[in-house]
Symmetry: C2
Subunit: 310 residues, 2 copies
């Protein structure tokens, strides 16, 4: 089994690579594990560095003889909103060049990290399975276009794609990134290590979340599953835990964190972006296909604590 | 008022140009009317020829100082399915280069001819307003991506777009084109002039139709309307007349055509494409915004007869 991971230097990419290096994939050992990011990432396997927004680079990656391609590399939401050209260059042009290069060499299983941010308001409190995605960010637009390209290439049997619409990953370890959703992790992570955190949105804000390990589980399941039941519908909304910021803070307190370290500082730009995101999403198809969310937010906090201590 | 029409050599493009040359646009006279197609089209105004699939050509067009851009140029559905690279080059790359060039010069009203073929089966008999488009052709995929680009650029106030999801235009005058939907016109047009026509699908097939004049009316209304109520949702499913092939043939007979000239010759490729298309679509938003369909199929046939005689 040969595997390529783009965005392998990111938080999910590192975890995914470590899991695959340790356990193989689909019950088979992994002989080659190419891990690509803007700078060659540390870790197992062969590290590759380059700009996914360079079509030639993306095409070179797609031409590698991988049986499974995990395409996680992207410009995150805040940056794609701030830099129009860069977002389209990396998230659309790079993605397309990668997919087309995989197709050109005869295809492979391609697992594409998409996002629940393909949905944009107005929408019902829980977004039904067949609801039209109408993104309200350039990032969501670019990811949705990636889903459409993947579905069309899969329908034409040029590759075998699964687009996994990820909820916001929380608790992200380490330092904040430039994603507009970063504070969802910050308000748990920072107080647990005795540091202050900013809360830019109201406590009533409800948002779908997934732990890092469950998100990696989605990606692995998408690589291993039988895709025949998908037909031409290759984008799947992942199951998520929809909790309010207030409930998150209550769980923080139960886990021993000090909620007074969270400073409410409304940010209209962040609040505007978050208000356009889904609060809860029906994930009937993904559940039927065996994708599983976290049981509750306390277990997400506990897993983060165990990891930070370990 | 300065106007650019791409695909101006096509059936809708010619009608649109003639209407604008005669009546102006939005109650204002038109000083410049650029009409572009792969070869310079005949008619009023300034004719331009070139390949929309050449990004530089598309960018030159977008840079013309038009107040309104009607983007009708495209590779049609049958050809986009047969030639993967050409379809994406013209319908995605050309469209994107055109839109981005309009944005780069400060924006304009952009009316984009999209299609109800953005929807793909399975779907309910009447597709609700908020139903997820999941195209089952490369053409539908490319048009949906164009809608998403137009919506994102409009949301960012880089241009002011309206994507008009057209039903199948019927009765198209003249000769057959390479669209998979061409037979819907053929089974009316050919028998009315005493010629044979092939029917590749069952008579029970129901399909949403619009007359050429009503389709031009949609485009003109999209150019003239107030776009403020659209917000970031720039794609509108147009109202259509959903009739069965059997009902169409009955109308043909009422209009004096000989239905025995229609030869049923099932074509699994065409039937497969058509089976993936919407049968009827809710168009509540478009109706509220003033878009109007034809009253019945007999009036569509009568308009075609009047035009053919005139």
């Amino acid at each position: 089994m040969r595997v390529l991971i783009t965005g392998a230097g990111g938080m999910l990419g590192r975890r995914l690579a470590a899991r695959i290096a340790a356990d193989g994939l689909g019950g088979r050992p992994v002989e080659r594990l190419w891990r690509h990011d803007i700078v060659p990432p540390d870790g197992e396997g062969e590290a590759l560095g380059g700009d996914l927004g360079d079509r030639a680079e993306a095409a070179r990656l797609g031409a590698l003889p991988a049986d499974v391609v995990f395409h996680l590399g992207a410009v995150v939401s805040g940056e794609a909103e701030a830099d129009f050209a860069k977002g389209y260059r990396v998230n659309l042009d790079g993605t397309r060049a990668l997919f087309e290069a995989v197709a050109a060499r005869g295809g492979a299983r391609v697992v594409f990290a998409s996002t629940l941010a393909v949905f944009g308001a107005p929408f019902p409190d829980t977004i039904p399975e067949d609801f039209a995605p109408r993104p309200l960010t350039s990032y969501g637009t670019q990811k949705l276009i990636g889903e459409l390209l993947l579905s069309d290439l899969s329908r034409r049997e040029m590759l075998d794609g699964v687009a996994v619409r990820l909820p916001t990953v929380c608790v992200r370890p380490g330092r904040p990134n430039r994603a507009a959703s970063g504070f969802f992790s910050g308000i748990i992570r920072e107080p647990l290590r005795g540091e202050r955190a900013l809360l830019p949105v109201p406590r009533e804000t409800v948002h779908p979340l997934v732990s890092p390990d469950a998100a990696v589980g989605f990606l692995l399941h998408a690589a291993e599953m039988d895709t025949a039941p998908l037909g031409a519908r290759r984008a799947l909304s992942m199951p998520a835990l929809s909790v309010s910021v207030g409930e998150m803070i209550a769980a923080l307190e139960r886990a021993g964190g000090d909620p007074r370290l969270i400073e409410e500082r409304p940010d209209p730009v962040i609040a505007g972006i978050v208000a356009g995101w889904a609060r809860a999403v029906e994930a009937r198809r993904a559940l039927e296909l065996g994708f599983r969310a976290d049981p509750d937010f306390d277990s997400i906090v506990a897993a983060h604590q165990a990891e930070s201590a370990g």
